[in-house]
């Protein structure tokens, strides 16, 4: 089983990703795709006059401020525009697919954070009406059933909190939890960056190999979202996934290139 996460940043060509995915699935390899949608969500939020806001946690992680209105905009893009766009592309390429958010089934469950902290201009505040959390449980029986029926799951946040509300979760970490739960042999995380860069944003400074023990040290190179990707890689390895590759989604055959080692291989 292969789990692929493709980000939602600007410039990512979903047609190229789906071309590659159709070839891989066509060779009989079971695959689960997880996707993001951040760029389109920011655009729609601006258009609807509810500009996106981002929170920096005390330990430097960034995440989207997800009040109820943002969650709805988030669902419109992730579960509507992007998810069904990917499912349509896969059908067009002869790959039966099923688009599911973490709510559906549910596929992903986990705790919603009752409060979060935001650091802004040196001042820290508590935020309570944020719909964010983490994936702890993955519905492996539903996903396995779909794989048996040769239907490719296309998964997207949000997840379902234990108290029954939709929660924004990090797509990379949700993909790691899914890869672990399905005992995937590989997790490929594709974004608009060539991998972990020693001298961000210089693409030629890709760190090609990171062993599990070097993950902490490698963390010092990581900026912004890459920090969460390294956390996701760690969680996948700890979950028993033998190999994680952080690669670029840009250009043709991005998944195959990552599988062949193009990007940062963590194992």
């Amino acid at each position: 089983m292969l789990v692929v996460k493709v980000g939602g940043a600007e410039g990512i060509d979903l047609d190229a990703v789906c071309d590659d995915l159709a070839a891989i699935a066509g060779n009989g390899r079971p695959v689960v795709l997880v996707h993001g949608g951040s760029h389109e969500t920011n655009r729609l939020a601006e258009q609807l006059g509810h500009a996106p806001r981002f929170i920096t946690s005390p330990s430097g992680y960034t995440s989207r401020r997800t009040d109820r209105r943002t969650l709805e905009i988030f669902e419109m893009v992730y579960c509507g525009l992007v998810n069904k766009g990917v499912v349509e592309r896969l059908h067009k390429r002869g790959v039966p697919a099923i688009g599911l958010s973490g709510l559906d089934g549910p596929v992903w469950q986990g705790p919603r954070k009752t409060s979060i902290r935001s650091v802004d201009g040196g001042r820290t505040t508590v935020i309570r009406d944020d719909y964010t959390g983490r994936v702890e449980r993955v519905n492996t029986s539903l996903l396995a059933e779909l794989a048996r029926s040769n239907i490719l799951p296309v998964l997207t946040p949000p997840a379902l909190s234990y108290c029954g509300s939709a929660i924004n979760v990090d797509g990379d970490r949700a993909a790691a939890a899914t890869a672990s739960a399905l005992s995937a042999s590989e997790l490929v995380i594709l974004s608009n960056v060539a991998g972990l860069l020693e001298r961000f944003p210089d693409p030629s400074s890709v760190v090609r190999r990171v062993s599990r023990d070097e993950l902490d040290a490698a963390g010092k190179f990581a900026r912004g979202r890459m920090r969460t990707k390294l956390l996701a890689a760690r969680e996948a390895l700890e979950g028993g996934v033998p190999r994680v590759v952080l690669g670029s989604a840009i250009g043709p055959n991005p998944i195959s290139r990552a599988l062949e080692g193009e990007g940062t291989v963590i194992s």
Binding site: G36, S38, I55, S57, P58, S59, Y61, T62, S63, R64, T66, F74, K113, T114, S115, I116, R117, R123, T124, T125, V126, I127, R128, D130, Y131, T132, G133, R134, P157, I167, N168, V169, D170, G171, R173, T228
Partner: protein, 56 residues
């Protein structure tokens, strides 16, 4: 900054001149973290624990 009494130990808690509801103010003496629940009058309570994981 201005100061007010810590609700745990009575020590000094540094508070911004114009505090924000939800703002965290640590007590220099006993180290607890307090949260500004109200401004006029100033109302403090123990801040909830940090939950570290983050959404998309």
């Amino acid at each position: 900054m201005t100061t007010t009494a810590c609700i745990e130990c009575g020590g000094d808690v540094a508070i911004a001149v114009a505090p924000m509801v939800g703002e965290i103010a640590p007590c220099r003496d006993c180290g607890v973290e307090l949260e500004v629940l109200g401004i006029a009058p100033l109302e403090l309570a123990l801040a909830p624990e940090i939950e570290e994981d983050w959404g998309e």
